[in-house]
Amino acid sequence: MDPIFLNGKKRQSKLGTLEDAAAMIKDGTQLAFGGLHSHNGPMALIRQIIRQGTKDLHLIANVSAGMPADILIGAECVDTVTVCYIGMEHLGFAPRFRKAAEEKKIRIIDGDEIYYVLGLKAGAVGMPFVPYPPGHEARDNPIYEKTYKRTIDPYTGKEIIVSPAIRPDVAILHVPRADIYGNVVHLGSVVADDLLAKASTHTIVTCDEIVTNDSIRADPHRTTIPGHYIDMVVHVPYGAHPLSCHGIYNHDEDHIKSYVKADITTYLDEYVYGVKGHFEYLEKFGIEHLMGLREQV
């Protein structure tokens, strides 16, 4: 259904490799990632970012970040982190985040869902900041976190709280499906993936499945992010493992548990530095185990 392209011109694919994608993330990049908790995190790309030795990231952790934030901090890639929540949900604290925070090895910007989501919305639409309604003076984030400011609401004359627009340099997302032009289809939760693509200067998606452009055009209502926001598409089956990819496989709870308990150096040596690439990583788990994660009983 895409129009015939004539004159020898062709629509260009945005496909790239994990190495291409990781190379877009330089030392010091303000890096955001999609998904939440143990779901839809771009873990294969994160492992590649660690493997290439990236330093001094300003990590903008997603609205409920677990292993993606914890492993980047544990691998000492992170200088600053914007936090809504970093923890392991029912599995307790995120141990490397907690340790780095208590030892003051990372700078923390203590946001919350409003700070993050409306900050990204402001970033996406060009609003210079987010104005708050009355009430938020009663809690401590706007007191302790110095990136909140105050201004005047000219409709009431009263002083109000504001928080800054957030405009990440690069957002990385793992999604179930995309076409080679960057059109994305989520099968489960979108969370803030759509907003991240709008607010960020560059957006990379890794996906479990590449679908045809025809299938995108057959039902445009199912497209969750239009491809014009996407710089690169990387086809990475099981690219979210050990997290889930909504609609395709569940999270690998046993492996995440073992990650929480592991010595981080040993873990990174085995699962990141000790493997050459993503499929070598997957071989450590085996086909039977990986296919088992698809059981959605």
Partner: protein
């Protein structure tokens, strides 16, 4: 008197699910949000819709499923939760409600959430134990708890009842309880912390001054004594003249929980402690 923690007929989690579900019966036609790590209130919402509040709308956390009918799983953001949902919220949808529903005046908007530290006024801390700049425990972050100054009502549940959880005053206010600061800044339509469901009992908040409230005993679970509650709470509770016993879950509730809501028995695996 039976001890809920050792009752052969039901687990303590099942009793708490029943208690929260019955509370939701006062919220038919209202809108309720459940956070992450929330197996107890997720089960309660499902039970409430079947028995007490068929018109309750509820959100299963950041995953975004509205009115999910799936069986219980560990995580509110697991994609299995979206089965049988009526709508999938993204984070903008969620924050739209998180921030200002107190102004709409049509229905109550209710949160049922956990807390790492909860104090006598119902303030909740998810950020830092000790000095903020040099914390002894760095918490997970404030997440969605800003709704404490916008939702109509907030209900807390805890999996533990001890002096680490229930403290005199939280070190960092993620959600504002019934403090003087709240009285000064928060619109009155946002009432705030309403009840607390713990493994020992049910609590609410009663005025202790013009502007502030303190946590008060409502009922104790079967087998729990007032002395035990006092020993395990880090501040002086208000003790009313009459203290009830929390109703045990009914046969109907237990059947629905075990056969329909939680066939995999996740509630029984929760590490709930006194």
């Amino acid at each position: 008197m039976t001890d809920a923690h050792n009752n052969p007929n039901y687990a303590i989690g099942e009793l708490m699910v029943s208690a929260i579900a019955r509370q939701m019966g006062t919220h038919d036609h209202d809108w309720a949000a459940v956070g992450a790590y929330s197996q107890l209130p997720m089960a309660s919402m499902k039970l409430a819709r079947m028995l007490y509040a068929p018109n309750l709308w509820w959100l299963a956390g950041g995953g975004g499923a509205i009115n999910s009918t799936s069986k219980l799983v560990q995580s509110t953001s697991d994609h299995r939760v979206m089965r049988g949902a009526e709508y999938m919220m993204n984070m903008e949808d969620i924050v739209d409600i998180e921030m200002w529903r107190f102004n709409r005046g049509r229905e109550n908007v209710v949160g049922v959430v956990g807390g790492i530290q909860i104090d006598r006024r119902g303030s909740c801390n998810m950020v830092a134990v000790g000095d903020y700049e040099n914390p002894t425990v760095r918490g997970v972050g404030t997440v969605g708890l800003a709704f404490g100054v916008s939702f109509t009502l907030v209900y807390f549940f805890t999996m533990h009842h001890n002096k680490q959880v229930f403290v005199e005053e939280v070190d960092f206010v993620s959600a504002a309880g019934h403090t003087e600061r709240r009285a000064e800044h928060v619109p009155p339509a946002c009432i705030g912390a309403q009840k607390v469901f713990t493994p020992l009992g049910v609590f609410d908040f009663a005025p202790d001054s013009d502007k502030t409230k303190t946590m008060r005993v409502v009922s104790l679970h079967p087998g729990v004594t007032l002395e035990e509650v006092r020993d395990k709470t880090g501040f002086d509770l208000i003790i009313p003249d009459h203290i009830g016993q929390t109703d045990e879950p009914s046969e109907q509730e237990l059947t629905l929980i075990r056969d329909v809501i939680d066939p995999d028995g996740i509630l029984k695996t929760l590490r709930i402690s006194r």
